[in-house]
Point group: C2
Chain length 177, copies 2
């Protein structure tokens, strides 16, 4: 089963992490691969929480968001990181060992600069082609392309109705990360 | 801070549970009170997962959804359960000991039969009146009333784009509960 959490509102990664929390409770083995996220001078609560779960593997494989927040790395560095993350995910999905695999922010990696994404749609689709029957995959990120909406069993759009960032408030530890 | 996850799509409780997972990672004390949910012949993954966290208190205080799925209990039984759940939440919120308090499906309790909810808006608003500065509250459930949207700092509408239930598929362990 493929689940997609997309849209511009808060709750996409949170919903995926809630899925992780639930799946762990059922005794499943779980893998989380985060695209884009990485190299930030903050502690991610979900990452800290993950350390305590022997059945949860958590990989933050991004190099930070591209060309914002002071990023000066060449795009090729981000592209390489995204390809490495997807290669790992692909292998782990195919293994059939995981009840749940989360590809967090994968659509952000896909959508980077129209037509020049850090990943191509074909590469992502390839990784999702043969999902073993007991493995569920959650994909998150804004602007999920139609191709993946069609492939998915479940799609929820998180729509922003109200957000503190609208009023210029900064991200809050424990809530936003 | 008050956060609301509402709408007809999957991901509301999941996003709240992801918030729990994140908050626990930051060392916060967390309380989850589930309205409506309870007395179902299934194991909830989030409840199982909760057992392993010394800083997480998890209360399933509902008596099941009202008048569906074979429920024959008088509404007064459900109303009493909802009031007991809210009283607990109110007390715990006021204590200031919790970094995060989740009132899961509280809007379902509120919205039961127009004007005859298991809880009144005034009762819920009362419990949220004095939230200590370090406590964050997440409210979930369909059809969040305007009064609470106005009170909240963050509101996301989970909009159903595609759902397996549309095709008559049943709820799936590890994904839906």
């Amino acid at each position: 089963m493929i689940l997609i959490y997309t849209g511009n509102g808060k709750g996409k990664t949170s919903a995926a992490m809630g899925g992780v929390f639930r799946a762990l409770g059922h005794g499943w083995r779980v893998l989380v691969v985060q695209f884009m996220k990485g190299e930030w001078p903050v502690v991610f609560g979900e990452q800290e929480s993950a350390k305590h779960h022997p059945r949860l593997e958590f990989f933050q494989m991004g190099r930070g968001f591209v060309k914002i927040m002071g990023d000066k790395k060449p795009v090729s560095v981000h592209r390489e990181a995204a390809k490495r993350a997807l290669a790992l995910a692909r292998k782990k999905i195919a293994s059939g060992l995981y009840g749940l695999v989360v590809l967090d922010e994968v659509f952000v990696a896909l959508n980077y600069q129209k037509g020049k994404g850090l990943l191509t749609q074909g590469e992502l689709a390839g990784a999702l082609k043969k999902i073993p029957p007991k493995t569920n995959v959650i994909l998150t990120g804004r602007n999920a392309p139609t191709r993946f909406i069609k492939m998915a069993d479940l799609v929820t759009e998180m729509k922003e109705i109200k957000h503190p960032f609208q009023k210029g408030k900064p991200a809050v530890q424990g809530i936003d990360y």
